[in-house]
């Protein structure tokens, strides 16, 4: 209980601002609070949450992985091309589809991880390049066409209901549980925080920084590959740019959830709330009847605003801490 309370305290003031936005939606967006819409929001959150787990780990380690959208698109299309070979796929075929997607993600993650973790290349640039390779490969693999019309058994993984709640939410729940366990309870999870806090300290206290970084990117890649296939199952279509923009929603979800670019601060618990907030905002904007074009403007502005608030509040905290130090000095 104590721990939960402390975690709640760590959630930044930003959340309260977001609550105001949600109140606005409740009053002005028609049907925002309807049961069906809430289920809709939940199932939209599910996939965002899965990939945000990877993003949270990357940002916790003071880096970032923007290849997520490209990897998702490519992995989703790869899985889609495999499953459409079957008329009535059994469970093994479905599992194999997800394994293919996850495997593609793993390859991209390994590539990122080795170049960034082992050889210390600029992470922005490498993940930016893999993002473009992912989108490009998704264009190449099916000639830029969209695949749709998947077998029912495959779509049931994400698109049916269990106990009144969409299955995709259950899948996300299982994965998030596993990821929560990994980041909070295992040695590797502690290493992520240590590496993000100070790479030098971490390596001098015997942590294998390279291995940790490679693992982070591998996990992030696997999660986005899996998420890509799940997205295909949920939307019943797979296109070369199906997942574009997901990387930025994931960054926003992570930052809203209180993980800051400073590294080593925050965690997955906050990201769950952040992902919920992100899909509520997207959903609310749609319900309020803004056109696609305006949504793009608002989303960009909103993410920029969140990040600016994060950066400014972090700097204020630093200044306050400095002031405290100097006061002590004077005493």
């Amino acid at each position: 209980m104590q721990q939960v309370k402390e975690k709640l305290k760590n959630i930044p003031g930003l959340i309260w601002g977001v609550l105001v936005i949600i109140l606005v939606f409740i009053f002005f967006a028609k049907g925002f609070t309807k049961y069906q819409n809430i289920l809709n929001i939940l199932s939209n959150t599910a996939i965002l949450l899965i990939i945000s787990c990877g993003m949270t780990m990357a940002i916790l380690s003071k880096e970032i992985d923007i290849s997520i959208g490209g990897v998702m698109s490519f992995a989703g299309l790869g899985g889609a091309l495999f499953i459409t070979r079957f008329e009535n796929p059994g469970i093994p075929a479905i599992i194999l589809t997800f394994a293919i997607g996850t495997g593609i993600g793993l390859c991209f993650g390994l590539f990122n991880g080795v170049l960034i973790g082992k050889y210390k290349y600029n992470y922005w640039l490498i993940t930016f390049a893999t993002m473009s390779i992912g989108y490009g490969a998704a264009q190449v693999i099916n000639g830029g066409n969209v695949v749709s019309g998947f077998p029912k058994a495959f779509r049931n993984v994400a698109d049916s209901k269990f106990l009144g709640i969409p299955t995709v939410v259950w899948v996300a729940l299982v994965i998030v549980m596993i990821m929560l366990f990994i980041t909070y309870k295992t040695r590797f999870g502690m290493h992520i925080y240590a590496v993000g806090d100070s790479e030098q300290c971490a390596s001098q206290s015997g942590i294998n920084v390279k291995k940790t970084r490679i693992l982070i990117y591998m996990l992030a890649g696997m999660l986005s590959g899996f998420g890509g296939v799940l997205l295909v199952a949920k939307t019943n279509s797979a296109g070369p740019v199906a997942a574009s923009g997901y990387e930025w929603n994931a960054i926003a979800a992570t930052i809203i959830g209180g993980t800051s670019f400073e590294g080593g601060k925050g965690g997955l618990a906050g990201t769950i709330i952040g992902a919920l907030v992100m899909s509520m905002i997207i959903n609310g904007l749609q319900l309020m009847g803004f056109s696609n074009y305006w949504q793009q403007v608002y989303k960009g502005a909103f993410i920029l605003l969140i990040i600016v608030v994060d950066v400014i509040s972090r700097r204020k905290k630093k200044k306050a801490a400095l002031r405290r130090v100097y006061k002590y000095d004077e005493c």
Partner: protein, 318 residues
Amino acid sequence: MTNAKFRNLFMKYSRLLVMILLVVFFAAATKTFWGPDNWGNVSNIVLQQAPFTILLAICMTLVIVLKGFDLSIGSAVALISCVAGMVLNKTYNPWLAILAALILGAVIGIANGILVAYVEVPTFIVTFSMQWILRGIAMVLLGGKQIYDFGPTFRNIFTSSRYTFLILMAVIAILMALLLSKTVFGREVYATGTNQDAARMSGIRVKRVYIMAFLINGLIIAFTSVLYIANLGTAEPIIGENFPMTAIAATLVGGTAVSGGSGKVSNAVIGSLIMLVLTNGMIHLGVPSEWQQVMIGAIIVLSVVAERGMQKISVETV
């Protein structure tokens, strides 16, 4: 000539060598690349594609020297050309449109600069969010339509001679080269890019350098957009989606280092030419155009890796 001198010379002209090798390779591998059939194509590329790629690569060079990236150039081109197109459509006055474009470019540049310098948000984040915002505004303004009607005088100014784009590009490139190598501001840019803290300690107003750099960046982008719609004859909100990728790839291939503090206009020029030779050569090899994006991504990775190798060689020389 000593070994070290030879090495330095090799390092200096290695990109030129790469380009010559590429041309030789494509000429040997395909029958169509080096032949009279391709001459018209080549002159088209040099006169109508190269100026834009080079101008955007020069913008990107300025930002990469400062250890940043600008992903918003594609959307900025889209928005500025839409606004310029709308002004032209209403007034038929080309100079008013150019003025509007330059003002808008300056505003976008200053907004980016303030967010980077004063709020201290990473350039990647600033420019990527900006990319969405700017393209979104362009789409809101035009609603997915195109503008064709620019009035009788506008396109004549730029297309009456075939060489206008090339000459204007050369003027801007020379001005930028002089700005970076001969002025105090240029020195300040290199100092800030190499080590921001050291630059601040030695009395350079780092924040002003960032804002000025993004302002110049915005102005060049605005000018490029005007040239772009003059060349294309239409303005629509979806243009320039691949610009940031291509510009980054061209800049890095040309030898500008991501670690900041080094890079010249000549690097941007040679990098852009290498990219153009590659894209044209691949078409002649019969590679489908879908592969282009994969190729550009791979080139970025390769050139970053190669940069590390080059640094090692030059360190050994010292």
